[in-house]
């Protein structure tokens, strides 16, 4: 399979330091990629650069074998054959649903257009709404019209900019699955931008985590969760906290409240401190465990409680416990560690560490 989209060393800047810095990745045809990151991290700028709305200050973008963006030359969006779904949908208020969908298909035969509109309305479950105007539709319906409009001309790539941000939380995941189904059915290559990992996991084949303008990791969801490339990714993806540990002579990491849990990163010498990622599922509630920690806070989640536990050096860890274990705040409960995927990083102020090496080679237990 050939790469439908190649982003090579791309940087984007608006009068100042780059907001997108040296990003590279590629996406195969038919795949759904996702740019995931906190707001203001540069993911939308990157998407807009792919769309052709932002020029590059470095690197190049290759779409379907054609160089569409290089420094100083940007093929305008209208001839890139992209489709885009906007955060606010940007439906044309003066056009009906059908006219909105037909908007990008001018020049094609009438019959073909009509067929495509019907197919898309069917696909989106909007059959009865073809003659209505955008303001007469609900948010979810508008969203699907926007998607249908972007898909109608069969673009080389579909770009979705936070398409679910105005949806109800419970609708989002379902919509994401639905839309994934629709895209897969049409075999469309797509890139989604979001700050919501649930959405990203539900929809994307591959996910790139962006932090402070840089691509931290481009991977499948499982790897992002279990083998995060750096502290930023670790903290951003999934629940979990970073806990300081000490590297012992035998290169094992020791935690302040428990014994050693595994090997330290290569270059971290004995005596250094490291940051260890502890996810709620790494901490098992066990009344028989000698290790007891005080409950600082708790959140009821139906099937489980999420307890926040105090640890000796002043930090805290999270622990997911079945909800019939109803403990009060202030109580001490027994826990033990069961770390399946040990993720640790040298601490930034660790003088003995070669940071650049450490960063790219987190230990995996």
């Amino acid at each position: 399979m050939s790469a439908q989209l190649k982003v090579k060393n791309v940087s984007v800047a608006y009068d100042g330091p780059p907001v997108v810095n040296d990003v590279s990745f590629s996406l195969d045809a038919g795949k759904i990629g996702c740019l995931l990151g906190p707001s203001g991290c540069g993911k939308t700028s990157l998407l807009r650069a792919i769309a052709g709305f932002e020029p590059l200050v470095a690197g190049e973008i290759i779409l379907h074998g054609k160089k569409v963006s290089v420094v100083g030359d940007t093929v305008p969006p209208e001839i890139r054959q992209i489709g885009m779904v906007f955060q606010d949908f940007a439906l044309f208020p003066h056009l009906s649903v059908k006219q909105n969908i037909a908007f990008g298909m001018r020049g094609k035969a009438k019959a073909i257009i009509a067929k495509r509109i019907d197919d898309l309305l069917e696909l989106m479950g909007l059959k009865e709404f073809g003659e209505q105007y955008p303001h007469e539709l609900s948010g979810g319906q508008q969203q699907r019209v926007a998607l249908a409009r972007a898909m109608a001309p069969k673009p080389e790539i579909l770009l979705l900019d936070e398409p679910f941000s105005s949806m109800d939380a419970e609708l989002r995941e379902q919509l994401a699955y639905d839309i994934r189904g629709v895209l897969k059915q049409d075999g469309i290559t797509a890139i989604l931008v979001t700050h919501d990992q649930i959405e990203a996991f539900a929809m994307a084949d591959e996910i790139g985590v962006i932090g402070e303008g840089r691509l931290r990791q481009w991977d499948v969801a499982y790897e992002l969760y279990h083998r995060p490339a750096d502290i930023m990714v670790s903290e951003f993806i999934g629940l979990g906290v970073m806990v300081s540990g000490l590297v012992l002579e035998n290169r094992q990491i020791s935690l302040p409240f428990d014994g050693t849990i595994g090997p330290a990163p290569f270059s971290c010498e004995a005596g250094c401190t490291v940051k260890v990622l502890l996810r709620p599922d790494d901490i098992i509630h066990d009344d028989t465990s000698p290790l007891t920690l005080e409950i600082e806070d708790r959140a009821f989640r139906g099937a489980e409680f999420l307890y926040t536990l105090k640890i000796p050096n002043g930090g805290k860890i999270l622990c997911l416990v079945q909800s019939h274990h109803d403990h009060k705040i202030g109580e001490k409960i027994g826990v033990r560690l069961d770390v399946q995927h040990l993720t640790s990083f040298p601490e930034v102020d660790c003088a003995a560490c070669d940071l650049s090496q450490c960063k790219s080679h987190p230990t995996q237990g």
Binding site: I79, F86, L91, H135
Partner: protein, 553 residues
């Protein structure tokens, strides 16, 4: 790489907009710049004379007049806009469009009619004297021909700008915001002051700045009322003192006032980018007013309509049919035709250029384009005669240069091609009124979210096609507003028309002025009345289109 050539074309088109807006701004600033060019001609000792004697008056009176018109037009414009758009009371539907009617009356004509009514020898004072047996000096009566009188006259005919833009803003406001405010425990009236008013502020300020620029450019009213302002000062210096450089330097000072105004206006708009976030507008549930509130609302709107339109128009009707020696004859149709022709052409081209500038600014929002757009709108505050002179000089120069060259090269004289043509006159109108259509178009474009453009681009439409297929249909209401506002302005325009029109070409405003200037106010009434009549039609259309654009959203 089959699409490579298109890349270049599109890049060129981008440059084209940028260069185009700058070029257009340069062209439309020529008259103002020509006038400012006199700044470099030494004006002699005249300045020490002006500073010693009259300059203080010019500055103080101009400022006071602006303050008065600002207060007056806010008082009349904002409250009525709120009532007409958000409340329901007796006659609201009629007031909604009648409140716009004063726009059709030129300021100097309303000044004549009120002088006729309120003067010592006018019907009001005569009736008072008769009723109470008073004589001169026995009683106090406000003098209409004064600074405050001029501010009142100008407020009465200029408040519709504030009303028009504020009402559009109220109608476009997302009702959700108002509802939120009311659920937070604010009453309707508190919500008006704390939410609706601040949200509408950019539109209020835009309307106000139009009114104030008209105020600065006004000559007829202040001249007749004996109030010395910058405008009267410019003419006095130019004609009376025969000192064109000093007059130009006064014009430059006037332009500084305008620049400050423009900057204030821009500033207030910058703070709130006001595309609506909510896509959905519900039908307005107008707040019903009952009892004394209903009465107060009718009274409030009634006062504006009565004094801004009914009384002066009534006076014109009375003059026309009782004492005027003029009659509405066949020649009148020529006048009306000329007036419509000029108004139609000028408003169409003003709209075209405003769209070009406004959209160019949207595409390439760089400092040069922004400056260009601001410069293009400067002419609005410059008195028509000054603009006209600024048009005559470069046009005649161009014509004569071409003629000289043709003579020397081909021994053929082209004479004057542009000077004395309708083209020169239309150009002057554009210089003068581009700000009006620009203001309206910019406000309209500002309400279209940038994502609309990008959606269009991503669907394969070039910037020009986005304008044509997305913006134009969405802007329909604003475009019509721009068209009609300029039309009404051209209808009333006098000084530039007077100087620049071709031979044997008269308009209603020229006819009305010539008789009024000869102090035959009553004889000027039929032509004035015709201006009002011709002006009413677009004003009603305008009101209708705004209401409709709201409903179709």
């Amino acid at each position: 790489m089959e699409k490579a050539p298109k890349t270049n074309r599109s890049k060129l088109s981008g440059n084209w907009w940028s260069v185009g807006t700058s070029a257009m701004a340069a062209i439309f600033s020529i008259p103002v710049l020509v006038v400012l060019g006199f700044l470099f001609v030494p004006a002699g000792e005249i300045w020490s004379h002006l500073v010693d004697t009259v300059l203080k008056d010019y500055v103080l009176n101009s400022l006071s007049l602006m303050l008065g018109v600002a207060l007056g037009s806010l008082l009349l414009g904002v409250g009525t806009a709120w009532l007409a758009s958000m409340c329901s009371f007796t006659g609201r539907g009629i007031f909604e469009w009648m409140l716009l009617l004063p726009l059709a009356i030129p300021a100097y004509i309303i000044a004549y009619t009120y002088t006729g009514m309120l003067d010592f020898s006018g019907p009001v004072q005569s009736a008072l004297r008769e009723a109470y047996g008073w004589g001169y000096g026995d009683y106090w009566f406000p003098e209409i021909r004064s600074l405050w009188g001029a501010a009142l006259m100008l407020s009465l005919v200029l408040y519709p700008y504030v009303y028009l833009l504020t009402r559009a803003a109220f109608l476009n406001q997302s009702l959700c915001v108002l509802d939120v405010s009311r659920t937070l425990g604010n009453g309707v009236w508190r919500s008006f002051f704390t939410v609706a008013l601040p949200l509408a502020r950019p539109s209020i300020v835009a309307g106000l700045s139009l009114a104030l620029m008209e105020t600065l450019a006004d000559y007829g009213t202040v001249q007749y009322f004996g109030v010395s302002t910058f405008t009267t000062g410019i003419f006095r210096t130019w004609y009376g003192l025969d000192n064109a450089p000093a007059a130009a330097q006064l014009s430059a000072m006037l332009l500084m006032f305008v620049l400050i105004l423009i900057m204030l206006e821009k500033n207030s708009r910058k703070k709130s980018r006001y595309h609506n976030t909510s896509q959905r507008h519900q039908a307005i549930n107008r707040i019903p007013l009952k009892g004394w509130k209903n009465f107060a609302a009718v009274l409030y709107c009634g006062v504006a309509v009565l004094f801004g339109f009914l009384l002066p128009a009534g006076q014109l009707v009375i003059w026309t049919f009782t004492i005027s020696e003029e009659s509405i004859d066949g020649a009148f149709f020529d006048l009306i035709y000329h007036t419509l022709l000029l108004g139609g052409l000028a408003s169409f081209f003003a709209l075209l250029f405003a769209l070009f500038l406004g959209y160019g600014q949207r595409l390439h929002n760089n400092p040069i384009v922004r400056l260009s757009v601001r410069l293009s709108g400067m002419g609005y505050a410059v008195p028509g005669t000054v603009v006209a002179v600024g048009v005559i000089i470069p046009f005649a120069w161009l014509d004569n240069t071409l003629d000289g060259w043709m003579r020397s090269q081909f021994d053929y004289s082209t004479g004057l091609i542009l000077s004395g043509s309708l083209f020169a006159l239309l150009f002057a109108y554009l210089v003068r009124f581009l700000a009006v259509s620009l203001q309206t178009v910019e406000a309209g474009l500002g309400r279209i979210k940038p994502s609309m453009d990008e959606a269009g681009r991503s669907l394969g439409y070039s910037p020009n096609e986005v304008l044509r297929f997305i913006h134009l249909p969405m802007l329909r209401g604003s475009l019509l507003t721009a068209l009609l506002l300029v039309f009404v302005d051209v209808l009333k325009e006098l000084p530039a028309t007077l100087i620049l029109r071709p031979f044997n070409f008269n308009t209603l405003a020229v006819r009305a002025y010539e008789l009024a200037a000869d102090e035959r106010l009553a004889d000027a009434a039929p032509a004035s009345l015709a201006i009002v009549a011709v002006g009413i039609i677009p004003v009603i259309l305008l009101s209708y289109s705004i209401t409709r654009s709201r409903q179709s959203k």
